[in-house]
Symmetry: C2
Subunit: 532 residues, 2 copies
């Protein structure tokens, strides 16, 4: 396709470039500046996008789930129609291999279609009907009917590490649109061209399916002001974000300080601790070490679920594990990171860890060019539990292909170290059935710290399905009650409304006696798909 990239913002379907502050993307593989220049959104453009979103919400909020499903499907189709243009631009802007980006595109369109299917099923609205009891004494019970509706316009922030699946048409946008919420998306400045291509696909899908153009806008920005203006605009009713703790906290603080505070769903990554228990070490230390290093280096270590800490009890099993992990990581090629800021943060994190007394290096991957602004060396480090416990900076995530193996002298020390863990997206346990029985208290403790517990697997690879939880207690996210992956992500952007005593023909179809949509409902407390 000869699709051209304009460098403009997309405000409710219209290209707009009123500002005078422009920036370029850079190819992280070469350091070459990519054309065109992108024009940072002005305050007027931010406000224009938010006003249009508010208007779209008022006009479109009563649209049927089937209509919204058509919109999501159309977006998926239009993204596919971008073909190699999209993959090539994304590769140039992120350095991620084409095969990975093709997979990510499949995940992105898969998510859109998953939410379309959820809407066609329709039962997600959690409809509840409590019928009138006019004879009840001392007071009659009125007829009460309740369902979930969209919360209003949502601000979505694209993530650098998933230029498709967690960016412009990623999980946040798909779940917000599914809930009936217009989206104002702030593109990640590291892949603005990819963002614009996807925004064009969304705008075309909106036009094709006859929705109000305010359902989607894309804003560019490289300074924090644009993000803060967006989050503080009174039309915005919720925020979806994936990125760093620092940026997520800043958005959360701004949203909480508004005259009307709004919920922020920020997924801010974590250390994803892995516990390799004694039986597992005795049985298969080498295999687990190799698998772990693959997980650590996958995608240049740039996954939110990257395992950054590994815990084991001292002994020959852990020695073998450490040796195998060191050997495996030494075979890692040089890894290109997403942009120079991420590489710089990674390098300084590694320096901080390796400069800590008691931390030693088990192995390091190759480096083609130590002076490169974007090429990183994978690393496996090791320390004893006393060092880990005494140095809180070792508990903080380093975003990139590194993991620290923590050696505990005994079971109690392992548990003590585990108690120091903050909230995480995931925790992983490698063990035998006997290990699980002996370490039941560890597993119970980990349940209170994470959104997902993995047994004999690796945390990278987040399945998109109803049972997924991609979330967890602070600082993994700002709201442990949410997931940003899977069908339950829609609940972030929905709120309940109850209709009391309304005539049939004024109720949404989901709540009418006849149940014309055939959805599952709770009628007088009993789950059924029957009519009233």
């Amino acid at each position: 396709m000869g699709m051209s990239i304009t460098g403009k913002n997309h405000v409710a379907g219209r290209p707009s470039a009123e500002g005078n502050h422009a920036f370029h993307a850079t190819d992280p593989r070469t350091g070459v500046r990519l054309d065109p220049a992108f024009v940072q959104a002005t305050q007027t453009e931010v406000a224009g996008a938010c006003h249009a979103a508010r208007m779209a919400f008022e006009v479109e909020r009563r649209r049927s789930g089937a209509d919204r499903a058509r919109l999501l499907d159309a977006i998926a189709t239009r993204i596919e129609a971008l073909g190699e243009t999209l993959i090539e631009r994304a590769t140039a802007e992120t350095g991620l291999p084409g095969a990975r980006l093709q997979g990510e595109r499949g995940r992105t369109t898969g998510q859109l279609r998953m939410f379309a299917a959820l809407l066609r099923d329709g039962s997600w609205v959690d409809a509840r009907i409590d019928r009138a009891q006019p004879e009840r004494s001392p007071v009659p019970r009125p007829d009460l009917r309740r369902m979930l509706v969209g919360i209003g316009p949502v601000a979505v922030f694209g993530a650098s590490n998933f230029p498709l699946a967690f960016s412009v048409a990623g999980g946040d946008t798909a779940s917000a649109l599914a809930a009936g919420c217009p989206v104002v998306c702030k593109a990640h400045p590291a892949h603005p061209g990819t963002s614009e291509l996807v925004a064009t696909a969304i705008a075309e899908a909106i036009a094709e399916t006859g929705f109000h153009p305010g359902m989607f806008s894309l804003l560019h920005g490289i300074e924090p002001d644009v993000s803060l203006e967006l989050v503080c605009h009174p039309a915005i009713q919720a925020v979806g974000f994936t990125g760093s703790l620092r940026a997520g906290r800043a958005l959360y603080d701004a949203a909480s300080a508004r005259p009307q505070p709004i919920p922020v769903f920020a997924e801010m990554g974590s250390t994803n601790p892995v516990f390799v228990l004694p039986g597992a070490l005795a049985e298969r230390a080498d295999t687990i070490a190799t698998g772990l290093v693959s997980s650590v280096t996958l995608g240049s270590g740039q996954f939110c679920t990257n395992p950054g800490l590994v815990f084991g009890i001292a002994g020959t099993g852990l020695d073998r594990f450490a040796a195998a992990a060191g050997q495996a990581v030494s075979a890692s090629p040089a890894l290109t990171m997403l942009h120079d800021g991420i590489k710089a943060a990674y390098a300084s994190g590694i320096s901080r860890w390796t400069a800590t007394t008691g931390v030693r290096t088990l192995g390091q991957g190759a480096s083609t060019d130590p002076a490169s602004a974007t090429v990183a060396q994978a690393a496996m480090l090791m320390a004893d539990a006393r060092t880990f416990i005494g140095n809180p900076h070792l508990h903080e995530e380093i975003f990139g292909p590194v993991s620290l193996v923590v050696e505990a002298e005994d079971r109690e020390t392992l548990l003590d170290a585990a108690r120091r863990l903050e909230g995480n997206l995931t925790a992983t346990v490698h063990g035998t059935p006997d290990d699980l029985a002996r370490f039941a208290d560890l597993v119970a403790l980990l349940e209170t710290r994470v959104g997902r517990l993995i047994f004999n697997g690796y945390p990278t690879g987040v399945e998109v399905c109803p049972a997924m939880t991609h979330g967890g207690p602070w600082p993994a996210t700002t709201d442990a009650r949410s997931t940003s992956v899977g069908t339950a992500a829609i609940f972030r952007f929905a709120r309940p409304v109850t209709w009391q005593g309304f005539p049939e023909d004024r109720l949404p179809p989901e709540l009418r006696d006849a149940n014309p949509l055939g959805i599952r409902r709770l009628i007088d407390g009993v789950s059924t798909t029957d009519p009233v």
Copy 2:
């Protein structure tokens, strides 16, 4: 019963009075100080209650729903066993009539048993199972199983206007305990003796059912410090509150500024606008006016759902309505309010409204003693829409038995006034079927502003049932996505956890293949009560 009130805090089942700051409750009917003195909790006592709650959570979080149901039922039984002692003390501390308090006690024990039934049913955990697909290409799908679990210790703040149903063992406590969360309750200082009696009932129920005593603590306090210390304690993971916007915002701000921010579910009241449409005015202006004044004066106007604003279009129908409302309110007796602070705020609110140019008085209730610190006069006021729109202080709630009738010159002005409304718990529409058709845009607008829409009824009287939404957009609450009444209130205190690849015998019963609890689950996206 000869149950004595000690004036002490209850920290994890133990009476505690380490502080040196004491206060008394007052009988609002007489101004008489009630014994004993209550000792404000110290920082150490707050911390002790929070630590005990954390320990109880760790110990008890894997308890079955059936066990938690037994605890809730036992609390209900113990509250009933307090008999007249509880009603008499509550009457003395609040001035509310015995019959009202007996009704409220029934609502309180009913709520506890409703959550017990929800736990016995068990399906509330929203269990989801996505089975492994080992043959899937390019990568196999792991086995993923997810359910809701308790979020951790919850801080609950007793409300002044519901000394039983929204206080120590009210909806917040019942739903938190149901979710498996220990509760640290801050008693409202206007009814500390009622609070202590109920706390004793809870402590006895905890002992009887063999739960950890840290499952519940009661703290007294009359200064904001106690509340802020509680909300800022690291063990606390969520907050439930019913009260004023000012206090709710202060708790929200404190919780959001924590190193680990936590969710606050504050229900802060609202103006609960009522729209009386032309067809309804033509048919039954008098009846609606009488019903409305009953709703306005019920419980001395001290309900969160008290209708504070009434909108109609100018004409003979509205004139008749205004005359009837004025006449009805003039028949209102003098009304005793909960305490002198509420009366003072009511009186100053009335003065502010009546001093506004364009606001006139339609009628006022009786007043036995204009100088009384707690006795209030009900009032119906009126203004035109221009006055309403031009005076934002007329949009703010006055807590008490007053309502402002806003006269719009035409349909457009009515809609314009409606657009000025902030978030509300409820909105009410009185109309004919023809009115609903002609004012569909008004109803659609109101849907975006409230948690509950009422047709041809009155907002007071909040049914406790699955379909209830007692919540709404800011400033009605801090989180429009929640309800504080009905079974869905439990979701405020629960978060999802996913188990990936775990053996059957290490999974919670809710997620095992055989479905031993017989709950409804989503298996591979399909709702069923069958085993896997």
